[in-house]
Structure formats: C-alpha cells, structure tokens
C-alpha cells in the first residue's frame, strides 16, 4: 500500500495538533504511545513523575536490575563530551527482590506500563532474574540487557557474540511466562549487528532494542589520566544518533516484521521520527532526560506534530516509511491537495 505524502508544511506553533493514532503494538504489548524511557536514564520512573505523567507515555523502561544489590563503580562516573556523555555507573541498583517489592510495586500502583530491564554476570543469573519476574505483577515485557559496557570483564558483554547472546535470551525465554515478550538490547560495538539480531531472534527474542551505548574513553588533559574511575564508559547522546539509526535501518531491512525499539541520542520529535522512518515501532528517550527531565512528554508531542505535518494518519503508517521503493509515488489525493494550493 502506498502511504501518505506531501508535506503540508509546519503547523503554527500554538495551533493544536490534530489528534492521530499514536498507539503502537510492540511485541504484542499495546502502548498508548511509541515514546518510552531508555533503561538507565529514568531510574524506576518515580523521579520523573514529578515532571510529567509517566502513565501518559508508552512505557517506563527501568534501569537494569541485577540479582543482588550492586554498588556500581567509583566516581567520577561521567564525562560530558560533544553532544553526548560517557557514563560508567556499573549497574548500581537494589537487586531484584527489593526492586520488585519497592520499585515495581510503585510503578504498578501508579498505573504505568513497565518494561523491566535485567542484567546478569552469567547465563544462570539471567535465568534466575526471569524466574523472579515470572511471579511479579506489573511487568509488560522484559528487556534483556546483554550489552552494558560497564562491566569488569568485557567477556560479559554477551551481545558481542552470537553464541553468548543466544544463550542468555534462551535462558530468559525458558524461565519466563511463555507469553512474556522478551526484548534483547543490542550493542553497536560489533562488526555485524544483523547477525546478532538474527541469533537472538532464533533463540526466542520477541523483539530487539537498538542500541546500547558505545564503549568510549576520555583522558583529562590536566591530570593526564583517564577521566573516569572505571577508565572506559558508555557513550550516549545525540553524538551517537547516526550510528543508532543505521543499526535500526539494517535490522529492519533484514527482519521486516521484527518488533524494534529504536534509541540513541533522541532529543526531539524529529529525531524520534528518524528512528520510526528507519523501522522502529517504538523509541526510547535516554540521555536527553538529564538535559530536560520533561523530554519524553515533549518528544511525544513533537513526534505527533511531525507526523501530522507530513500527512501521516497514524504512527503505524510511518514505521519503516524510509524503506519504501525509490519509485513509490504519493497518494493521488495528496497530490491533488498539493496542486490546488
């Protein structure tokens, strides 16, 4: 089917945006909006609920939780970089039991749609995490973080190799409710992200989150040593957006029907639109939250406006639109509208 479109030009800033269907179905989960928080940038939603209604966005993706409490890495844990930042938190968190009791319960009572991100040091830990979540209430999907760069042993970055990535996903799948959507979060620090995506899909992943941070490093010119206590850290923010859009594009080309959450440096509605056009069914907003705690809500509004301005009647019409054939023509009605203007 040929979709929209001739640009209808920008709407005046104060004009209400015509309402279009922004809902999306992600790996079987119905979301009111395609805009989610990115894991690690929204804690467990409570802090951001002070700035906007967290039930009004698509979902809260919680900070990756591990089996036991974790102190994280020493400080300094971050460095500002051009249009981005490096972080080296090291998965500080309360452990799964306290998370379920304290954070997940709050999210559930609040009525937020919640995607729980889990991280482990071994396949067995991921399996145990999945088993704990199986009996917890309020989990809409599990995001399997196999790509955190801030672990002591780079061998633990399961997403860097097809075999280990598949092992983790298989274990999570086996220990979860069979209906629970399992979304694998992938690392861009690989030669061929499509082959990793293929491996996790074959292992039972319902969808993929693309991308986690890129491994980076800053040396302080005054101390002439690495700035981060953890030496290396994960690079995020608008600086990585073109890498992220490329990864979404490549995976969408290879897997036309795979649910994809796109993320990496989204700062505005137009940035989110890029990911949607490249093939993302939903987008996660991360580092920009540090700059603007209201960003998820703002971006949701801006994305809706951007879709309307381009003649889309719903979000779903725009997903993967950049993949249309070069000779695809706009719908006749739109052309006529354009000519008559």
């Amino acid at each position: 089917m040929t979709r929209a479109l001739i640009s209808q030009g920008p709407l005046p800033g104060d004009e209400p945006v015509p309402s279009i269907d922004m809902s999306t179905v992600l790996a079987g989960v119905e979301l009111v909006s395609p805009v989610l928080t990115a894991s690690g940038c929204a804690a467990a939603g409570r802090e951001l609920d002070q700035f906007f209604d967290i039930t009004a966005i698509g979902a809260v993706v919680t900070k990756s939780v591990m089996l036991t409490p974790r102190s994280g890495r020493p400080t300094p844990r971050m460095a500002e970089t051009p249009s981005g930042m490096l972080n080296s938190i090291g998965l500080q968190g309360p452990g799964i039991d306290r998370f379920i009791e304290h954070d997940l319960a709050w999210l559930s009572d609040r009525g937020a749609t919640t995607i729980v991100s889990i991280a482990g040091g071994s396949v067995d830990e991921y399996a145990k995490l999945a088993a704990r979540l199986r009996i917890a209430r309020g989990v809409s999907a599990i995001e399997v973080n196999i790509s955190c760069p801030n672990v002591e042993n780079r061998g633990q970055v399961f997403a860097c190799e097809t075999g280990s990535a598949a092992d983790v996903v298989q274990a999570v799948k086996r220990h979860s409710d069979p209906r629970m959507p399992i979304i694998a979060k992938l690392s861009p620090d690989v030669t061929d992200i499509v082959s990793i995506a293929g491996a996790v899909v074959r292992a039972g992943a319902t969808g993929v989150s693309v991308i986690n941070t890129l491994l980076g490093m800053v040396i302080n010119p005054d101390t002439m040593r690495p700035h981060l206590a953890g030496i290396t850290g994960g690079l995020s923010g608008p600086a990585i957006r073109p890498v992220a859009v490329r990864c979404v594009w490549q995976i969408r080309q290879a897997f036309p029907d795979l649910p994809i959450i796109g993320m990496g440096g989204i700062r505005t509605g137009l940035d989110a639109l890029e990911f949607v056009l490249a093939g993302a069914d939903a987008v996660s907003v991360g580092t920009v939250i540090f700059h603007d705690p209201s960003a998820p809500m703002r971006i949701q509004g801006e994305l809706q406006r951007a879709l309307v301005e381009r003649g889309f009647g719903s979000l779903s019409e725009a997903v993967s639109y950049a993949h249309r054939p070069a000779d695809a023509v706009p719908e006749v009605d739109d052309v006529l509208d354009f000519i008559s203007e």
């Binding site: 700035f51 409490p69 500002e80 603007d292």
Partner: protein, 284 residues
C-alpha cells in the same frame, strides 16, 4: 516538589572572582530553603553541552512584578559556566528546582557555626538569616585561596555575630584554612551545630572538628552531577545509614546536605569493600 521553568535573566554581575546570576524562577523561589539547589540548562535548545550545571541557591526574593526570583553564584571553570557568565538581561535559561535535601535547622536556640570555602559561602546567607530569626547565635567562618576568591564578606559581616576570614596566602584575614580557626570558635561559643559548604577535604575536617566536640555537622557536598534529579546515578558517595550499612547515595536527592558523621569522607571516590553490593574479590 521541584518544577522546571524558563527563567529570565534579570542581572548578571561580577563579584570578586565570581558571577552572581539573578533569574526569575516562579514556583521555585517561593518554596526554596537554605541548602536547596537548582540546575540550569546550558547552551540553549541546540546545545552540544547536555549536562545541566548545579548551583546552590544563594538568595531568593519576591520582586513585585517578576514574582519569585533567585540568585546563584557561579565560579567559571569551563565552557558551561562560561556560557552562563555571558548571559545578559532578558536571556532565558531553563531552571529545575528546588532540588535536594536542605539544611536541617535546630529546634532550640543553640549557637551555630557556619563554614564556607570559596563560593561555598553562597548558601550560608539564607541559612544565617533563618537561624538568626530563630534566635540562634551565628558565627561564620569563610576562607579561600586568596581574597578575590572569597564571596560575600561584607554581607556576611552584617548577618553574623562574628565573621572570621582565612586565606591560604594571607591576603585577607588570617593566613591558613577555615578549619584551623574553627575549633577555637566552636569552643568559644559552645556551638551545637556546624553547617558547612565547600570542597570535600574541608568538609571532612569540619565533620571531624564537630565530632570531637559532640556537635552536629551538616555538610553540603559539591559532587559532579549530570541530571540533578536522581536518575543518572553519577553523583554518589559512600554514606553510612542508620542501620550501620554503607550505601552509595546520590548527592542530588539524598543530599546535597549530609550529616558529617555519616559520610565516609576518606573513601569518597571509591567503593569501600563493605559497601552494600560492593564488587566481590576474584576467587571468593
């Protein structure tokens, strides 16, 4: 509860080595207490500098037509603070606040010592006023490397029962550190509480001096932050809880004011091995 507002620059003036930035901050200034801080967005909407900068609230005013306004004191250290120093009247800056846990004020009319290092004296002005209103005696000590880096000496003289000044180079007041003169001042006035804001080594020594005298210390830390609202987990330091367990706490939401006897000052920048969830040594 913090809010996010667009603040308009009312004034941006140089004071010694610092800039004092006055902003409209409707909804923030009215509920700010001494020790609260705000974060400011840097570089406008297209900025390549994503991280907000955190500043202790120095003063709040109710200025008629503007509604609530507030002042922050800025030390120019890098590109972000340079950008703030270059703002002019009517420029707009994104503000989030009030943030953090403020200083806890004593219920009784006890003597209080206030200690500021460099522009760490900024949050002590509101504090001194409120302590005085409660009938507390307020003795202030401020210090810096050199005279130019002291902040607000004249105004503090008006607010305090006594003001003691130290500089590392002896350019004003006594040569030395604030913590060299603090013990004598606390003893003289029998201070029950000491409030401090400044660099970590100063806070560590203030906490020790207080503890030696069985006084309370309330220390406002200046940790590097990315978000200021509790979601990024970058501004942590090791703090002992009431249960005796050390946790890595966020200075933005669990601080910036901590009880001095609870912070493991010597271990700041590390994860002490007995911290909850600390890495287990290989082989164990």
């Amino acid at each position: 509860m913090p809010v996010q507002v667009k603040g308009e620059v009312l004034d941006n003036r140089r004071v010694g080595a610092y800039q004092v930035l006055s902003l409209t901050a409707p909804g923030i200034s009215e509920i700010s207490r001494p020790g609260h801080f705000v974060t400011l967005g840097i570089g406008g909407e297209e900025s390549s500098m994503l991280l907000r900068r955190a500043f202790a609230i120095h003063q709040v005013q109710s200025r008629g037509v503007y509604g609530g306004t507030l002042d922050v004191v800025i030390g120019v250290h890098g590109k972000g603070t340079r950008w703030l120093a270059d703002r002019r009247r009517h420029d707009v800056i994104d503000i989030v606040g009030p943030l953090g846990r403020p200083f806890i004020l004593p219920k009784e009319r006890v003597a209080c010592a206030l200690v500021g290092g460099g522009y760490g004296s900024a949050p002590l002005f509101m504090l001194a006023e409120q302590l005085r209103e409660r009938g507390c005696r307020v003795d202030v000590v401020v210090g810096a490397a050199t005279e130019e880096k002291l902040f607000g000496v004249l105004e503090l003289k008006r607010l305090a029962s006594t003001l003691t000044i130290t500089t590392d180079d002896g350019s004003l007041g006594e040569r030395g550190r604030v913590t060299d003169v603090l013990p004598e001042i606390m003893d003289r006035v029998d201070a029950a509480v000491v409030y401090a804001c400044g660099p970590m080594p100063m806070l560590q020594r203030v906490a020790e001096v207080a503890e030696e005298r069985q006084a309370y210390s309330q220390c406002a830390v200046e940790e590097a932050m990315a978000c200021g609202v509790g979601v990024c987990m970058t501004c942590v330091l090791p703090v002992v809880g009431e249960d005796g367990v050390t946790r890595m706490l966020r200075s933005c939401v669990e601080g910036p004011v901590f009880r001095g006897d609870r912070v493991r000052w010597a271990d700041v920048g590390t994860i002490p091995p007995d911290t909850l969830g600390a890495p287990v040594e290989a082989g164990r």
